[in-house]
Point group: C2
Chain length 274, copies 2
């Protein structure tokens, strides 16, 4: 049964709105996805919202009806409300048709099966949620096992990261760990290839065993030297311009696509060179 | 001589603030770069601001003094002001140390020397200024000849694109053209490789003559079919996930790095395969 809730004082709506705040997300263990497209992508990836809020005027929309049915079928709550309340929930003047509340389910490092995928993306102290979401999206595209976040990264469950992920936050596993614990865990489980600017080999000259943990550091500072030192390979992208860096999500994409090619699908440098 | 201007009613300051608006930028032919880092990068790339605005309290800062000297040396105007006015100029609570006003100098298509570089990045109807700025940055990194913007792209001279470019807006040439005029111009001058999702070959199976024009379409719609039909090659990136797309700036980066490798620097698939 759909509830109709429209009062800003309603405790359920207040709790949903509070999920824009990282501390509330942490405490609550849930996060928001905003918009029909991304909530539908979540459902297609097998993730059903615990709560679905939609504009009452859209109740007849086929996609909305499907989401309502799925939410209620899984024991969740479907809430019809006003466009004004949806604007309030999202903080946007132009309200989305739906808002979904999902359970955040990061996988603890010790429960990751490293051998389950040939490539994992590992990010250290990434601060920009657009970059993080974009890298989740790339992880999905290359078939990565998931994204491992080291140290103080921005929140993968924030609205901006979720939006930039284009749904990949629902298909890519997310793990959060401290750097030293990651290196201890990775030892014997795979090869860590760190992207660095200095003291590195061209990325096409490195080898990428299965699984490879592709590690990229903070947007400004790059990888800490002691982390770079613990990597099995240190790789760099050639820089032909006046600047000396790439956007971290672009660097992750270039390296990730090279790794899956080099790991050998019958094409590319590694295959040709044996 | 440094002018000290602090009144919101001052016509020079009002004109600078108006450069946040795309129509004003178009009419005026100038644009803003905000922050000490990017204005310094502009100077290092040989671009001197026509007007430099800085917080009077920072007048003694070595980098600010260098910018003031360069601006005045080139006949420009240096303006000391208050932090409140800098906040007003940038629209940000946390004011930047400096704001530079630069001349926008797009290159007309007919004056581009296609043979001057092995690779050009061509974007069609790109809408996100962060994506556009990131692709300018990638263009700098791979040594592209410049970025050619087709049809109704977002403004490369907007503050967000300039910021995301990390200074590359000052090193990469920018050209704006209509799609059909671009294809007419490119014919006989180089090979157009369009990134598409359907009816394409794997990007590693294509050849990339010098120069290659690497063409990517709008974030949502991709390349229009009639544009794809006019490309010399249609290439796609493998997609192993549940989604069917990459962020356009990531796709541009993966393809651009592959092209420069394939064009032969002694490494990579093309070189190995002959």
């Amino acid at each position: 049964m759909v509830d109709t809730l429209t009062s800003p004082a309603n405790p359920t709506l207040k709790a949903i709105r509070a999920l824009h705040d990282k501390r509330h997300r942490r405490a609550d263990g849930r996060f928001l996805a905003e918009g029909l497209r991304i909530v539908t992508e979540a459902l297609d990836a097998g993730q059903v919202p615990e709560v679905l809020v939609f504009a009452e005027a859209n109740a007849g929309h086929a996609l909305v009806r499907r989401l309502v049915a799925a939410t209620e079928g899984a024991g969740g709550q479907a809430i019809a409300t006003t466009p004004a309340m949806l604007s309030r929930l999202t903080g946007k003047d132009n309200p989305q048709a739906v808002v979904g509340v999902f359970r955040a389910t990061p996988t603890p490092l010790e429960r990751l099966d490293a051998a389950a995928a040939p490539l994992w993306l590992v990010l250290q102290a990434i601060r920009d949620p657009g970059n993080l979401g974009t890298i989740l999206r790339t992880g999905d595209a290359v078939g990565a096992g998931g994204v491992i976040l080291l140290d103080d990264c921005c929140d993968p469950y924030g609205v901006e990261a979720v939006r930039a992920s284009m749904g990949a936050v629902f298909t890519q596993g997310v793990t959060q760990a401290e750097g030293p614990a990651f290196f201890d865990w990775a030892k014997g489980r795979g090869s860590v290839a760190g992207a660095v600017l200095a003291g590195a080999v061209d990325y096409r000259d490195a080898t990428y065993p299965r699984p490879t943990f592709l590690l990229l550091g903070n947007e400004q500072a790059g990888l800490p030297p002691d982390y770079a030192a613990r990597c099995d390979a240190r790789v760099k992208l050639p820089m032909r311009g006046r600047a000396d860096s790439l956007n971290v999500a672009v660097a992750a994409g270039v390296l990730a696509y090279h790794v899956i090619a080099a790991q050998g699908d019958g094409q590319g440098a590694a295959a040709a060179l044996g």
